[in-house]
Symmetry: C2
Subunit: 268 residues, 2 copies
C-alpha cells in the first residue's frame, strides 16, 4: 500500500484506528471452540464488526506462533481475509543480519503478503535495508516503546545528551523515507511525541498503548498528529476482549466505533 492510499483510507473512513488482533485462544469466547480454527473464527468476526471503523489491522505474530504451524496458517488466513481494504501490519519485531532479513521479508511481504512489519533497531541499518527494498511495503521501526522497561536502554543518553530512542529515530529516518518507513512510539509516553515530531515531522507513527496500557488518545493527537494525520493508533485488548461472552462482537464493535467517533473529531 502506498502512503497516498493509506492517507485516503484514513480520510474516507475518518479513523486512524488500528485494531490489534493479539488473539489468545485461551481468552476467546467459549462458544467459538467448536470451530475447526477458533482463532480464525474469532478474528473473522472481529474484522467483520470493526472494519468500517478502522484503517489498519495489526497481528501480533507471537500469538500465532504459540500455536505452531497451525497458528502460522491462521495468521495467513487472517491477513488474507482482511484483504486490501486496510493497511496490514505484522507485529513481528524482527531484526537480523542482511541475508536473514531477506528471508523475513520473504516470509512477511511475499508469503504472508502484508503491507508492513515491525522491526527492532538494535542491529542497525543492515537489519532494515532488506525490507526497504520492497516496493509499497513498509518498515515500522521501534522508536520509543510503551512498556515500563523501555527506560532500560531507550532513555540512555549519549555524550550529547540525546536519548537512544531519538538517535534511533533520527538515524533510521535516513535509511528510507516517508513512503516506506514508520516508527513505533508508545502512547504512554505521549508528551515525548512533541520532540519526536521535531525529528520526523512527516513520518507516520504507529502508536500502541492506548487503552489497556493506559495511554490517552487526546494527548497522542495533540502531540503526534501532522498534516497527513500521520498516526495509526492501535488498540488491542480494549476492543477484542471487550466481552468474552456471546455478545463479544457487539461489544467489540461498540468499542471500535467509540474510538472512531473520538478520532473523527480530529480529522478535518
Amino acid at each position: 500500500m502506498t502512503r497516498k492510499e493509506l492517507i485516503e483510507i484514513i480520510r474516507q473512513r475518518e479513523s486512524f484506528l488500528c485494531v490489534g488482533l493479539d488473539t489468545d485462544i485461551e481468552k476467546i469466547p467459549a462458544h467459538l471452540h467448536t470451530y475447526d480454527d477458533p482463532v480464525f473464527e474469532f478474528n473473522r468476526r472481529i474484522i467483520d464488526v470493526t472494519k468500517e471503523f478502522c484503517a489498519a489491522y495489526k497481528l501480533n505474530t507471537a500469538f500465532f506462533e504459540s500455536m505452531g504451524a497451525k497458528g502460522w496458517e491462521t495468521m495467513k488466513k487472517t491477513f488474507a481475509y482482511i484483504g486490501a481494504s486496510h493497511f496490514t501490519i505484522a507485529d513481528a519485531k524482527r531484526g537480523d543480519i542482511g541475508n536473514t532479513c531477506d528471508m523475513y521479508a520473504k516470509a512477511f511481504f511475499k508469503e504472508m503478503n502484508v503491507d508492513s512489519i515491525t522491526l527492532a533497531p538494535y542491529m542497525g541499518r543492515d537489519s532494515v535495508d532488506p525490507f526497504l527494498k520492497n516496493k509499497n511495503k513498509w518498515s515500522i521501526i521501534l522508536g520509543l516503546t510503551s512498556n515500563p522497561s523501555a527506560a532500560d536502554f531507550q532513555f540512555q543518553q549519549n555524550a550529547n545528551g540525546a536519548e537512544l530512542y531519538k538517535t534511533v529515530i533520527q538515524t533510521a529516518a535516513s535509511w528510507g523515507n516517508e513512503e516506506n518507513t514508520m516508527f513505533v512510539v508508545g502512547a504512554t509516553q505521549a508528551e515525548m511525541l512533541k520532540e519526536i515530531r521535531s525529528i520526523v515531522p512527516n513520518h507516520f507513527l504507529l502508536v500502541p498503548g492506548v487503552g489497556a496500557q493506559g495511554g490517552s488518545l487526546e494527548e497522542v493527537v495533540k502531540y503526534g498528529k501532522n498534516k497527513d494525520i500521520g498516526l495509526l493508533v492501535n488498540s488491542s485488548r480494549g476492543i477484542i476482549y471487550a466481552s468474552n461472552g456471546e455478545d463479544f462482537e457487539e461489544k467489540a464493535r461498540s468499542e471500535a466505533k467509540k474510538m472512531a467517533i473520538e478520532m473523527a473529531r480530529f480529522i478535518d
Copy 2:
C-alpha cells in the same frame, strides 16, 4: 538443559561448535528436491554427519518462516530430530512486551521444545523476564553483533563513555543468572571479548560470525574462553554449504570435523 549438562557435552565431545542450520531451499543440492520436505531432508543429513563434532545446533527462524506454515513444521521436526543430545537454539531475535513474550516463550520453549532463544534487548527487562521464568531454558541476549552496522547503535557511548553494548550486557546480566542467560557476541569483534569478559566472566557467550563472516576462532578463544569454556561458536554457511553437490554431506562433515579438531586443542 542445565549449564552443567551443557558443559559436560562440550567436554565429552571436545567441541564447543554450534552448527547453524540457516537452510535456504534455494541453496540446497538439487537432488534433494525430490523429497516431500527437502529442507528437513537436508537438515537431517547435515545433523547425521555433524553431530559427533558439535555441542549445539542453531536454527535461524527466518529461513523456516520464509516457507510459511510448512516451514514452521519443518523447524519443529528438525528440533525434534536433534533431540536432547545437543543444546538447541532458536535464533529468533524476539523481543516484545510481557504478555507477548509469554506467547513467544510458549511458541519456542513448549511448542518447539528448544533449550534457548535469542532475544533483542531494545525493549528492556520486560521483554526478557517472561523467558527467564522457564526452568532449564535459556535467554541468549544480543550484546555485540557481527554485522557491519552493529556500529550504528551498539557503539553509541553514554555520558560515562560506556558503549551501549556494554551497558546492555551489564544490565541484562542482572536480570537472570549464569544458569539461564547467555549473550551473543560477534566473532568479527573478537578483541572486544576481553572487555566483555570483564563484565560477564562466567556467562556463556554465543559467538556467530566465524567463517563466512570472517571471524577468527583463535582470537575468539584467546579473549572469550573461561574456566568452563563458556563459548558456543557458531558456523552456518561454512559448514552446511561447503558443497551443493551430491557430496554435500561429506564436505559438511569434513568442515565440522576440522573445526572440532581446532577446538579440541583449547579444551583441557
